[in-house]
Amino acid sequence: MTQFINRRTILKTGAGLGAGLVTGALGMPALAQEKQLTFAVWGGDSEVAGYRNVIAKFESANPGVKVKLDVMPFAQFYQQVDTRLAGRQAPDLFRVTYQQIGRYASNKAAIDLTQYLEKDFGKGFTPAVWSAVNVKGTPYALPHHTDTFALFYNEELLEKANIAVPSSLDEAWTWAAFIDNAKKLKTQGGSSYPFAMSWQNGAVHRWMFYLYQHGGRLLSEDLTASRITEKAGIETIAWTQSWFTEGLVPPSTSVKSAEKVQNLFANGTIAMMLNGNWQIPFVEQQMKAKWGVTYLPRDVAMADDLGGTCVAVSRDSKTPELAAEFVKFLVNEENMRSFVNTAQLLPVRTSIVDKGIEFSLRPNEMKVFVEQTKTIPEHLVSTVIHPNWGRFNPKMADELDLAFTSGQSAEQTAENIQAHIERLLLRA
């Protein structure tokens, strides 16, 4: 039996107790007479710069409109947005990953944008990201960019070990070849560990592309049953677990640690790293040795991670039409092109992807990433956009971490993950 509680009445009673005693407010109240939009984001310097550029252009094209950019730390971003939504004080617009938008969409915290979009608006975007922002055919956010993974490598160390790097997607190393190369690097020395994977700090969903590479699935085709306990699932868990048991990765790079893999790559602790395109500026600045980027290893299939973010309009917005205008402006072709170039991210408009885009920093390496975006499986996308994915993610991290660091068997891990799937991902 459901009982909806009128939170407002309780709130008013409580606040009434104290309301009379407080006088005045020091500081800046947010009410303004001119039209103002607040846009909450997280991001490094280059991303924030990219956002500010677009905002400046929008403001000059729309006099009397001000867009305030709220930059928040990523670690507490969703805590802030959710708290503000609970208090009916959410910003007009907020950035959100594809894995989290489902939660906001299904709770109607992000508004339905259909009425603000032209027909076939979605056709301008790559199918994977457009399906990610839609729930039952209704768009709740607009895709802004994507990110994906590839293999960074230390040129000097690989040369010393006589390891040749694949020059095209077809020549990508098989899993076996990848492990062989890793072992070669390990025996050669020069770095403490052969490689590491960047899946810390809540990014455990990146483990999934290995599952798809091995022909496995988390959920069935129609997303109504778990498939993690099948042979392919257990084997993938066992394979990634073996990286730790065989000393191929630093023990501190498990899914629940706070380790930053790119630091280890920059200071030579690891010879290769599986990481995303946004790391290029950092590596460029900090890495002393020569380095490059190549394709991911592959098994029966090639697969990659769906990274990136979209932008949604919150239900608390007092000016949804204006907010929608801004989002559309943000993701139009010209602005998207300059944004991804500034921030070293990947575009999601088919027009840009087809025409090609030349990045100012490390263009050849970025080409590898762009190619890899084509290998993101559609089923992976439909799995991670489940409204409860945000709740499931930390639980999957708990189980995989136990497998990697505490010797939990692959079978047991798969079973435990299945229990979480059944509790969280399969209910209506």
Partner: protein, 302 residues
């Protein structure tokens, strides 16, 4: 106006006012507490019997959150870790603090300077402490391992092994707490009248005996104060875990407040988090009440 009535009234008012005074004096605090602490606490209790993801409406589920706690492996692990952490840090920081206080109570060269150094870590914010500690203890580029290598000891995988992760957190905590205990004990030691010691030494007591029979009993109220404060503080450890280990590896450093935070904001289960918060609150309250009773017997609180 009737003269006798006014004088009776002012008489009544004169005798009533002193009675009103204490209430007036505590009123500002009480009002602030009510609005900003007790009301939210009641609200949390209210939410603890609901399911709430923050972005939708709360949904009544009765005592389900509490019964779920009973069988939640991660909850019990978090409780166990928090208790171990508390037991490891509280008596230790008290003991070290006391030793430091005794040592720095003597007339030593640069005594004030040394005391300031020991107190400095207390002043560093938890955010800064966590950031520095995470770096110092890092397996690969951390300074502690570099120092160990210098003296020929094998580097330790501090934050990535289940056996060393919790000790790293404990060591960092001790760094931030011993200074506080030291300062409080120092003050207490200085307020012990020398006549007690003179009397004891005349009776032929050794220094150790003096400590056991004079110093330690007189320090009991301080110990009580520090015990309560440090236990409360240790049960609420959060920033350190969040930044250094994220609760891992495995569940070896998952602490109760960190699990509460994760339930509230990562897995969107505010009702469950509130239930845990209420349970934690009641436990600490119980502990304090017990300590209060024990202490009342040995010390008179007016």
């Amino acid at each position: 106006m009737n003269e006798t009535a006014t004088s009776r009234f002012s008489g009544w008012w004169a005798s009533f006012r002193p009675r009103l005074t204490p209430y007036l004096f505590i009123a500002p605090n009480l009002v602030l507490f009510s609005v900003f602490i007790f009301f939210p606490l009641l609200y949390a209790a209210f939410i603890s019997v609901h399911e709430w993801s923050l972005i939708d409406e709360p949904f009544y589920i009765g005592a389900e959150n509490y019964t779920r706690l009973l069988t939640d492996y991660q909850f019990w692990q978090a409780m166990k870790n928090t208790v171990i952490y508390s037991v490891a840090t509280v008596p230790t920081s008290l003991a070290i603090g006391l030793l430091l206080a005794v040592g720095l109570n003597r007339d030593l060269y640069a005594r004030t300077f040394l005391r300031s150094i020991y107190f400095l870590p207390v002043v560093v914010s938890s955010v800064a402490t966590a950031i520095i500690a995470a770096w110092l203890f890092n397996d690969h580029y951390g300074v502690i391992n570099a120092l160990l290598k210098l003296v020929g000891i094998q580097p330790v995988a501090w934050l990535s092994t289940t056996s060393w992760a919790l000790p790293s957190i404990i060591i960092t905590t001790l760094w931030t707490r011993v200074g506080f205990c030291m300062v409080v004990y120092l003050a207490a030691l200085q307020s012990i009248s020398p006549t007690y010691y003179e009397a004891a030494s005349i009776d032929g007591a050794t220094r150790l005996q003096q400590f056991r029979h004079v110093t330690w009993p007189l320090l009991r109220p301080t110990t009580f104060l520090l015990l309560i404060l440090n236990v409360i503080h240790s049960f609420q450890v959060f920033d350190l875990i969040f930044v250094m280990t994220g609760g891992g590896p495995g569940f070896s450093t998952t602490m109760i407040v960190q699990y509460i935070y994760q339930s509230a904001f990562a897995t969107s289960e505010m009702g469950y988090a509130s239930a845990m918060g209420i349970v934690l609150f009641l436990l600490i309250l119980l502990f304090t009440l017990l300590q209060w009773r024990v202490n009342k017997r040995t010390e008179e609180f007016v």
